[in-house]
Amino acid sequence: MMRDVPLWLGFLIVGSATQLLFKLASEPLANVEFGPLWLWAALHSPVFALAVGSYLATFALWIVILQRTALSKAFVLTALVYVTVTLGSAVWLGEQVNAAQAAGLVLVMTGIALMGWTDGASDGASGPYEKHKT
């Protein structure tokens, strides 16, 4: 589990950046009617291109995580993205966090702390890592 911490950090940072970039890219498009014109404007936005690239990188990192982690555990741990995105929106986009959101964040973090505390996160490793074990 501990050896995967840098991988998870990378996944969280790139995954959260993806969401914030999509949000930034969407702002100039807010007044454009959804349709071909909207798509045209989106495809010409450098921030949108960056967001798509970041999205693909997140996918590749997720697949690497799945190579070495049980699906049941890894998937629930991805909820950390909700924590980083909510906090990131508060810090960089100036959005406010209300009491109900804060309570949700605490529940998610408590749940994840419990998951991380249990052993055997790599029990479900498949592929090359499984071969090394035997």
Partner: protein, 141 residues
């Protein structure tokens, strides 16, 4: 976001669209099936550290399981667009949080992963937390 809100206002007070009773289970099934495909596919890929990034990226794009997963998520996106037009985000997002439970069950049944009591508790707290966070955040939109 504003657009979804307007749709919500239009149907506020109306009974739940029966279509949603089919769309919600399908969307969660898509989530679970997509992740199962990703897990199967991931197990067939080389170790990125040993093979190098180019070989890894190429085998990732060529893997049938992974691309099936991507196709499932593409279908799911369309289903979500339909769901958004039928009900408010503050209801849709918390229901989507059930996918944590679905994927945990899939890991247990399909990949024989051990899921103990503490892990189930963690999974339940995360599901409740994401549902609450989603409801609270949707209210702001």
């Amino acid at each position: 976001m504003r657009k979804c809100r307007r749709l919500y206002d239009n149907i506020a007070g109306d009974p739940v669209a029966p279509e949603l009773l089919i769309l919600f289970p399908i969307s969660i099934a898509c989530d679970v099936a997509g992740e199962v495909c990703f897990k199967f596919g991931a197990g067939r890929l080389p170790d990125a550290g040993q093979s190098g990034l180019t070989v890894f990226a190429r085998s990732l794009l060529a893997d049938r399981w992974l691309m099936t997963g991507v196709a499932i998520f593409a279908v799911e996106t369309v289903i979500w667009l339909r769901i958004f037009s039928l009900c408010p985000l503050s209801i849709a997002f918390p229901i989507a949080a059930l996918n944590f439970i679905g994927v945990t069950l899939a890991g247990r049944w399909l990949f024989a992963e051990k899921v103990g009591a503490v892990q189930w508790l963690g999974c339940g707290l995360v599901t409740a937390g994401v549902a609450l966070l989603a409801t609270a955040s949707a209210g702001l939109a």
